[in-house]
């Protein structure tokens, strides 16, 4: 068993500590996760991060959708009438709230399921020694790189033609960074090597999600096209 000895001073508490954990997740994930595990952090902070990061992303998608719909409102006026158009226009403001809530629900589901798949793989295939709750806490911090996605979405919304390329780069960076954080989280939590952590946190969940998508696709096509045969 690995013998771990902390050589760090006491981490700061309060809001500065929270800022340090956010930045540390990006810059020093190993050290930050080690500190969190030593301090036995609660589940509320990662839960809060997921709600905030994905809630904002959902709201931005909703706003983007509303602004696209706005573009076509002028064409609807002769068809549905001015009063109905005004009512429809007012109703559009609910869209960002719906998308924000949908995004949060979806993110929470992915969070719980992904941590579950990873836990099963790391614990029972690679014989790791961590717990599901601990992994769930660390996985919550993997939402931090999505701040780059949020930045990209804002820039794209400001000027699509200028910032679309930059936004794509920011999104790719966020994906890459998230995978790194997930791998480090699994590695630290279960004390397995990085390769095993990568398989547990990325490859296996990816295969499961692809298989699920294929299954849903097949079921959908069978319903629409009237059956399939294996």
């Amino acid at each position: 068993m690995e013998n771990e000895t902390s050589v760090q001073s006491k981490p700061p508490s309060g809001f500065t500590g929270f800022l340090g954990r956010l930045g540390g997740t990006l810059l020093e994930p190993r050290k930050t996760f080690y500190d969190m595990m030593q301090r036995e952090m609660g589940i509320l902070e990662p839960l809060f991060l997921i709600i905030v990061f994905f809630g904002i992303q959902g709201a931005l998608v909703g706003v983007f959708t509303v602004r696209i719909l706005y573009s076509f409102l002028a064409f609807l006026s002769p068809i549905i009438g001015a009063e109905q158009l005004q009512a429809f226009q007012g109703g559009l403001f609910i869209v960002p709230f719906i998308t924000a809530i949908s995004w949060i629900v979806f993110a929470l589901m992915i969070w719980i399921i992904s941590a579950g798949i990873t836990h099963l793989c790391a614990k029972y295939i690679f014989k790791g020694m961590g717990s599901y709750t601990q992994l769930l806490k660390l996985y919550g911090y993997a939402s931090v790189p999505s701040s780059l996605v949020i930045l990209g979405m804002m820039l794209t919304s400001l000027n699509f033609s200028i910032f679309f390329g930059l936004s794509m780069i920011l999104c790719l960076m966020a994906v890459f960074w998230t995978v790194i954080i997930l791998v480090v989280a699994v590695e630290r939590c279960y004390l397995i090597d990085p390769g095993q952590a990568f398989i547990s946190s990325f490859i296996v969940p990816l295969i499961v999600y692809l298989a699920l998508s294929a299954l849903v696709g097949l079921i959908f096509s069978s319903l629409v096209l009237g059956g399939f045969s294996l």
């Binding site: 800022l19 930045g23 990006l26 701040s147």
Partner: protein, 298 residues
């Protein structure tokens, strides 16, 4: 730990900016796809020259645009007191402009609900006053034709202020305030006409000072403070007087002896400040076995 806190502050700033953006963008930016009829703009030009106000040598401005932008420039036209070119959506309320002359002073009050305005001043008058936008941005280019006693450039709610100081600009004091957003300072000047000072304050967001002037006759000193967050400083050739996580004081080598001095003071409430270096930080640095090896003893 310091870098972590700064990055954490930047993440919080992005999140808070995105919340403001979510509420403001449908109103401020309008439809994403603009068809020809959406683009209809009306341009209104208001000029005031020495013929309109003879004997005036001092101009006091009280300039407000609620949503939009202000772009400030100076020209070598000595008879020009001001020229405002408003670009507004068709149907938008006309700006109101009031000119009051008292002795040799001209008081100019401008109020516009929305739109972008290009403001041009001449080189024969002393300018003083406040220019503010509630939501939007202000850009100012202080060239050698500028002659400012005091300018207060303010973004009341959210947006940004960008200032470019060129060689031989003349100003006593420049004040910049942003509630949520950012301030960008490019001080390319190697010389200024007189002792000057700049104060920049952002409650939530960031301040970028891409360089600090280093001329033979111009000495500069910069003080920065960040309440929650941090300051990224590239000291370069500057003399570092003090530097902590959230407080920095630097000056140019010639500051004590320079005949003309520039004082810069910046404050960030929540967020980050970068001084003399690129804005974006580097990629993760600790995803390596070496660092972990030093951290865990087997």
């Amino acid at each position: 730990m310091r870098a972590n806190t700064i990055i954490g502050g930047m993440i919080i700033a992005i999140l808070l900016a995105s919340v403001i953006f979510t509420f403001a963008s449908p109103i401020l930016l309008g439809p994403l796809i603009k068809f020809e009829e959406d683009r209809a703009k009306v341009t209104r030009t208001y000029s005031f020259t020495s013929d309109d106000a003879p004997g005036v040598d001092y101009v006091n401005l009280n300039f407000t645009v609620k949503a939009g932008g202000i772009d400030i420039n100076f020209t070598d036209d000595s008879s020009l007191i001001y020229r405002f070119v408003f670009k507004q959506d068709e149907g938008a309320t006309k700006p109101s402009i009031e000119n009051i002359t008292v002795d040799s002073k001209l008081f100019v009050n401008v109020m516009a609900e929305s739109g972008d305005v290009k403001v041009t001043f001449g080189n024969n008058y002393i300018y003083n006053g406040t220019l503010r936008v509630s939501l939007g941005g202000i850009t100012a280019k202080l060239s050698n034709y500028s002659n400012i006693e005091f300018f207060d450039l303010a973004t009341v709610y959210a947006g940004g202020v960008s200032v470019d100081v060129e060689d031989d600009a003349a100003f006593d004091h420049l004040n910049m305030r942003v509630n949520a957003g950012g301030i960008m300072m490019h001080i390319g000047a190697k010389t200024l006409k007189k002792n000057s000072s700049i104060f920049a304050r952002v409650e939530l967001g960031g301040i970028v000072v891409d360089s600090i002037p280093k001329g033979t006759s111009l000495g500069s000193r910069l003080k920065a403070f960040a309440d929650i967050g941090g300051i990224y400083l590239n000291p370069g050739n500057y003399t570092v007087i003090s530097q902590t996580v959230n407080r920095v004081e630097i000056e140019t080598e010639n500051y004590p002896t320079a005949p003309i001095k520039l004082e810069i003071e910046i404050f960030t409430g929540l967020g980050g400040t970068t001084i003399n270096q690129p804005f974006f930080p580097a990629f993760p640095t600790s995803f390596s076995q070496e660092i972990t090896a030093g951290y865990f003893i087997e």
